[in-house]
Symmetry: D2
Subunit: 114 residues, 4 copies
Amino acid sequence: MSDFQHPEYQACIEACYACAAACDNCSTACLQEDNVKMMARCIALDMDCAALCRMAAACMARGSEFAAQVCRLCAAVCTACADECGKHQMDHCQACAQACRRCADACLAMDSAA
Amino acid sequence: MSDFQHPEYQACIEACYACAAACDNCSTACLQEDNVKMMARCIALDMDCAALCRMAAACMARGSEFAAQVCRLCAAVCTACADECGKHQMDHCQACAQACRRCADACLAMDSAA
Amino acid sequence: MSDFQHPEYQACIEACYACAAACDNCSTACLQEDNVKMMARCIALDMDCAALCRMAAACMARGSEFAAQVCRLCAAVCTACADECGKHQMDHCQACAQACRRCADACLAMDSAA
Amino acid sequence: MSDFQHPEYQACIEACYACAAACDNCSTACLQEDNVKMMARCIALDMDCAALCRMAAACMARGSEFAAQVCRLCAAVCTACADECGKHQMDHCQACAQACRRCADACLAMDSAA
């Protein structure tokens, strides 16, 4: 991606898309758990987080003038999703929590640098 | 991503998100070219392709029953975008054409395996 | 919307966005049902359908050369979602099934006219 | 939409989707103008605004706990897009500016009420 307009965003874009994939995976894996009801907030936050990560990545890749603000909000959603997923012991939740924390860190760093 | 429900989709998900980032980057890089008019179809296809790649990646990560059909359409859009971008010599267009072709190949392979 | 490039798409765009809203509403209303497990496929299809409806509407509003193909796939997803939602008696599912059928009809008509 | 979980969001959801359609239409109408270069920022903001409006509408329809924060950011992007589009006399830009202002007002009202 050396010919990207904003090579400094590359790591954050990758963290966002990795987080979106982890959230998407977690949302439907949760739907297959025996106790789906216990996972309801996890599923809802997975949907929010995946959507926001995709939008943040798109804004960065387009060099949007709102990229930093979108990343700031993305970090807040990622943190909420990580906190919720982190409460559950299933692999898909733990993997999602980890991806969310990495993405929150990357988005906060991006927002600070902007 | 070893705890993904569909580890067999992982390479295609990554190709889709790399293509989305290349298309997003290309769309706004094209807007800064001297001859923007010449880039109009490229920009329009970049928008279509980025959106479809993001949706294909999301469908795969969620294990959607429509993942294969979305990937088939994604391959068609990627191919059209690659053909258009490939006509232009700028680095962002050439990089985008390459990412689109890789994504088209990954989506077709995914559709065949489904 | 009289100054739209494609006023002939207007009704289908509106049907797509109404369907996306009904699917989004249904997905989280399902998560609050006592028997969430029974609603798992409904929730998964709601996510697919909302995403595809939003993309179809965007492609039409941009006058995308892939608008008809996206609408054709959107009609297939809407029909599957309507069939699943139609099995459940809750108001949110019945309202969603109705919005999905209207959207499927509009997308098929749009694809035939293209 | 009387069986929506959040009927109080309905007007804002509709304003968001109307704005997304106006921005999408404006983005590709701008690409067909003789002086595309002059429209570059308009096109870029149209892309941001359409994406954010779609996400705000989805968050509201799902009753997301982040709906108010997403609407607040959406209002900021809509205002920037309205200001830029408002500078251009073409019908598609004037219609887009008007849809953006209505959406910004609806999103601010939604955020205040939350």
